[in-house]
C-alpha cells in the first residue's frame, strides 16, 4: 500500500487510488496511445487487454487517470509508461486537447521513454528512471522517497503552480532545461508562444505536434525531429538523425 508520507495537504477532494501489482515489468502501462494503436489496430495492444498478473485492463488504468484517479504500481515498470498522458486523443474520439488527469506512482524502477508526449499529471518514481525519458522535467517532490516528474508542456501551458524545478529555470515564458538527461518528444504539443531551451542531446521526435512556440536544443537530436510539427520553430544546434520532418 502506498504511503504518501510528508505530502502537502491539498485543497482537492481525496482521489481514488488504483493499486496494481507488477511482479514483472510491463510495457505501456498508463499509455494513453496503447502503444500507438493507430499503427497496429490493436494487434500489439488494445485497451481491452488484461495487464499481465492483474484483473485490470490497460484501458481501465487510462480511464481511471482520466477520471482524476491516481494509479500506484507496486514493482518495476517497462517502457513507455504514461505515454501521451493527459491528451484526449482524437483517434479515440476525443477533442485532441489536453485534459486534467490523476497522478502515477511507481515504487520500483521505470524503463525508457517514460512520459513521451505527456501533457498533464505527475509521475512519482521511487526507483531509477532509465533514459531517454519523455517530455518531462523533475520538480521538487512532496512525497518522501519519490522523485516527481512533470510534463514540460504542462509547465509552459499552466505555469509552475507552486512546483519547484530541479535542474531547470522558468523565466517568464522561457524554460531553460539543463538537467543532464536525454529526453524524447521535448515540447510535444506545445501551443503557446514560449521558448524551451535545452542544453544537451535529445533523442526522438523533438517538437512533435507543436503548434506554437520555439524549442531549441543546444546539442544533437535523434530521429523524427519535428514529427507532425504544425507550427512554431524547432532549432537543433547540432546534427539530427534521419527522418527529420
Amino acid at each position: 500500500m502506498l504511503k504518501i508520507f510528508g505530502r502537502k495537504k491539498s485543497k482537492e477532494p481525496k482521489r481514488e487510488l488504483l493499486e496494481l501489482e507488477a511482479p514483472e515489468p510491463v510495457d505501456c502501462l498508463c499509455d494513453f496511445t496503447f502503444n500507438f494503436h493507430w499503427q497496429h489496430n490493436g494487434e500489439k495492444l488494445d485497451p481491452t487487454w488484461k495487464i499481465p498478473n492483474n484483473d485490470y485492463t490497460f484501458g481501465e488504468l487510462v480511464e481511471h487517470l482520466k477520471n482524476r484517479g491516481d494509479v500506484c504500481i507496486n514493482g518495476d515498470v517497462g517502457h513507455r509508461l504514461s505515454s501521451s498522458m493527459g491528451v484526449d486523443l482524437k483517434y479515440f474520439g476525443g477533442s485532441g486537447n489536453d485534459i486534467p488527469v490523476g497522478d502515477v506512482y511507481v515504487d520500483g524502477n521505470v524503463d525508457t521513454r517514460m512520459g513521451i508526449s505527456m501533457t498533464r499529471g505527475y509521475i512519482y518514481v521511487k526507483g531509477i528512471v532509465k533514459e531517454p525519458m519523455g517530455n518531462l522535467v523533475e520538480v521538487k517532490s512532496d512525497v518522501n522517497g519519490y522523485q516527481k516528474f512533470r510534463s514540460i508542456t504542462d509547465i509552459i501551458h499552466h505555469g509552475l503552480d507552486g512546483d519547484k524545478l530541479e535542474g531547470c529555470n522558468l523565466i517568464g515564458d522561457k524554460l531553460l532545461i539543463d538537467d543532464g538527461t536525454v529526453k524524447d518528444t521535448v515540447g510535444a504539443r506545445l501551443n503557446h508562444d514560449a521558448e524551451i531551451i535545452m542544453n544537451g542531446n535529445v533523442d526522438l521526435s523533438t517538437g512533435i505536434l507543436m503548434r506554437k512556440g520555439t524549442v531549441r536544443i543546444n546539442g544533437t537530436a535523434g530521429k523524427n525531429t519535428g514529427a507532425l510539427l504544425n507550427g512554431g520553430i524547432v532549432i537543433i544546434d547540432g546534427n539530427t538523425d534521419d527522418f527529420t520532418l
Binding site: 517538437g207 507543436m210 531549441r216 544533437t220 537530436a221 525531429t225 519535428g226 514529427a227 507532425l228 510539427l229 504544425n230 507550427g231 512554431g232 520553430i233 524547432v234 532549432i235 537543433i236 544546434d237 547540432g238 546534427n239 539530427t240 538523425d241 534521419d242 527522418f243 527529420t244 520532418l245
Partner: protein, 63 residues
C-alpha cells in the same frame, strides 16, 4: 511536418522531409525526399538564421 520551421545547425541526415506538407527546413546538409527540393535562402530566411545566432552562409533551404 505539417507546417512550421526546423533549423538544423549541422547535418539533418537522410530521408529529410519525408512527410513534409508545408513548412521549411533550414540545414547545413541533408538528403531530402522528393518532392522536397534544395532552394536558395531568401532574405527572410537569412534574417531568421541571424536572429537565432547562426551564420546563414553555409545553410541550405529544403522546401
Amino acid at each position: 511536418m505539417i507546417n512550421g520551421i526546423i533549423i538544423v545547425n549541422g547535418d539533418a541526415g537522410k530521408f529529410l522531409a519525408a512527410n513534409k506538407k508545408v513548412g521549411v527546413i533550414l540545414a547545413k546538409n541533408g538528403s531530402p525526399i522528393p518532392t522536397t527540393k534544395e532552394k536558395p535562402l531568401s532574405s527572410v530566411d537569412r534574417k531568421l538564421l541571424i536572429g537565432y545566432g547562426f551564420s546563414p552562409q553555409s545553410f541550405k533551404k529544403f522546401e
